[in-house]
Amino acid sequence: MAQVTTLWETVRGRWPRARIAALVAAINTVAFSALVAEQATEWSSRWETAALLWWVGGLTVVIGAVLIIITIPLCALVASWWIRIIITLLLSAVQSSVRTALLLPATTLERDTHGGLTIWVTGMSGYLLAIATGFLVAALFEREDRERALRRDEEARTREAVSELEREELRVRKIVADRLHGTVQHRLVVVAGGLDQVADRLMAGDDDPAQWAPTLRDWALDLDELREEHVRSLSHSLFPSGADLGTYEAIRALLDRLPPTVATTVDLGPTMKELIRTLRAPLPLQDRLVVIYTTEEAVTNAIKHGGADRVTVRVEALKRGTEWVLDVRIDDNGTGPESEDPPLSGLARHRARAESRGGSLRLERNDEGGGRLHLMLPFVPESPRNDDEILQKQEKFDE
């Protein structure tokens, strides 16, 4: 039953194309029939001209129609073009033979003077041409449909990527605004208020200036922390440190900021190293940002939720046909996910972003039982920047 359903779905899926093929083949068959009917009047016939016209034309149309009705649905059932060609050849040969047998008595042609063969070859050529043209036109339509569907998919992905970007922009704006209005503003107000107070008291001459030194030093340290922790974090939300230099540099910068209790390693695969050697920063900036933010989320989760104290990031570039794919694996020694490919929460938007760019993101357990986030991202390597050209121009200028 399931096989019948599958077969029916296959036929239904191919039906639009088969209908076009049948229509074109039918038009061609009618044209072919009219042509052979007209030519029949030039035969030496035992029949009246009008009767011969109707007999030859009508018979050719009917036999052709039967051929189309049998051949096209049969061909729709099979996927192989070789089998379709064989079916078409066999059925055309049978129908041409029937046509020959029915037409030969109406002519003065003799069987032993190859008259039958002539009629058979004419029929065979006409039917084959009619059906082949039908298939060709249908294939062209199908190709057009396929390309249109691809364009539609591409447009849908672009729309999804744009709306994802808009959502991400809003999210980051909200974070930055909240933190600017919250922690940063509050700390600045406290320090400014304190400085005002110190200035007032020094101007009044009540206090020994030296006694304020520890407090001022403390505020300076407070501002250092504000700068290094909060301002940096805000800046990173807008644009990660090192992202303009390259993926490796940005990941190194990211891992360097982790607490010293966490052991970190970044491994570049041989192909990635070679790409970096020749192209410097092979990954386009948009793809780089996907990798950097995903790595950051994975590392944060591993430490915060998985209790990991060792993180390894491996980056390799793979060539698949003509396409390049970046393969990033972030392994940790934490508790790992409870199941393979569990539903994602914080990582869900990173997965959506990776998928909107034709990639994938999967959370799994590694061999040590810790977590592994596996990001695959197709990319088009960027040409080397024109720094060398600039340098060459400068060298000429120096000379």
Binding site: D224, E225, E228, S241, G242, L245, Y248, P260, D309, F397
Partner: protein, 229 residues
């Protein structure tokens, strides 16, 4: 950091190029550098593109580069300048700790770079001493960053003894063996002995060009810093 005395027999002033996009910071750097008789500002520009055009071959001894420039990145600019003139000493300036970025390009550079926090450049003795040390081929790392560094778990630096780590930390600050000995109240021979043990434990071979520089880079690579109080 203890200010390093400028080599007295220098035949000509150290030529310094400054690339800084903030006008106030740039003028402060120019003023501080020009105050020293042994230093001379040859270029002071605001961006990467103007620096590429201005800083020609053999025109600069030390390039002070802000990491975040309006039209580019100081790290990328430093790589370009050193490709053109491998003898240029590059000193990165940043208002934020970008040590990870600094370390990520160390394999590509012809001469190890130095790194100063912008905050430290307000102390003229630190800035002038650091420029002089960089011109002499030393690696100078901002002392406030070095002081905040603690060994990263699972690294070779984490395997050093407390005394060895202290010696290495002071060497990373740019102190000479004599200054390290004075700071730790030990003999200079003890410092040398500690350094030999450090080189051995960090796997720095005797044949290396500058074992002290390699040790400093290993220190930076294998430590982390935290700014939480």
């Amino acid at each position: 950091m203890t200010a390093r005395p400028i080599t007295p027999k220098r035949p000509r002033p150290i030529r310094v190029s400054i690339v800084e996009d903030e006008a106030f910071m740039r003028s402060m750097l120019v003023r501080t550098v020009d105050e020293s008789e042994d230093l001379r500002v040859v270029h002071a520009v605001e961006g990467a593109s103007s620096a590429r055009l201005a800083i020609g071959k053999h025109s600069t001894d030390v390039a002070l580069l802000d990491v975040n420039l309006g039209d580019g990145n100081g790290v990328a600019l430093g790589l370009e300048l050193q490709r053109r003139d491998p003898r240029i000493a590059v000193m990165l300036l940043s208002s934020l700790d970008v040590m990870g970025l600094f370390l990520s390009v160390q394999d590509e550079v012809s001469e190890p770079w130095s790194y100063l926090s912008k905050r430290s450049t307000f102390t003229s003795s630190v800035l002038i001493g650091a420029i002089a040390a960089a011109a002499d081929g030393d690696v100078v790392i901002d002392p406030s960053l070095v002081q905040r560094s603690t060994p990263r778990a699972g690294t070779e630096v984490a395997g050093l003894t407390k005394a060895q780590f202290e010696v290495l930390r002071l060497v990373a600050e740019g102190l000479s063996n004599e200054a390290v000995a004075q700071r730790l109240h030990i003999s200079e021979r003890s410092v040398e002995s500690h350094l030999l043990s450090i080189y051995r434990r960090l796997g720095i071979e005797r044949t290396g060009t500058n074992r002290r520089v390699h040790a400093v880079l290993a220190f930076l690579e294998q430590t982390g810093r935290t700014w939480h109080r």
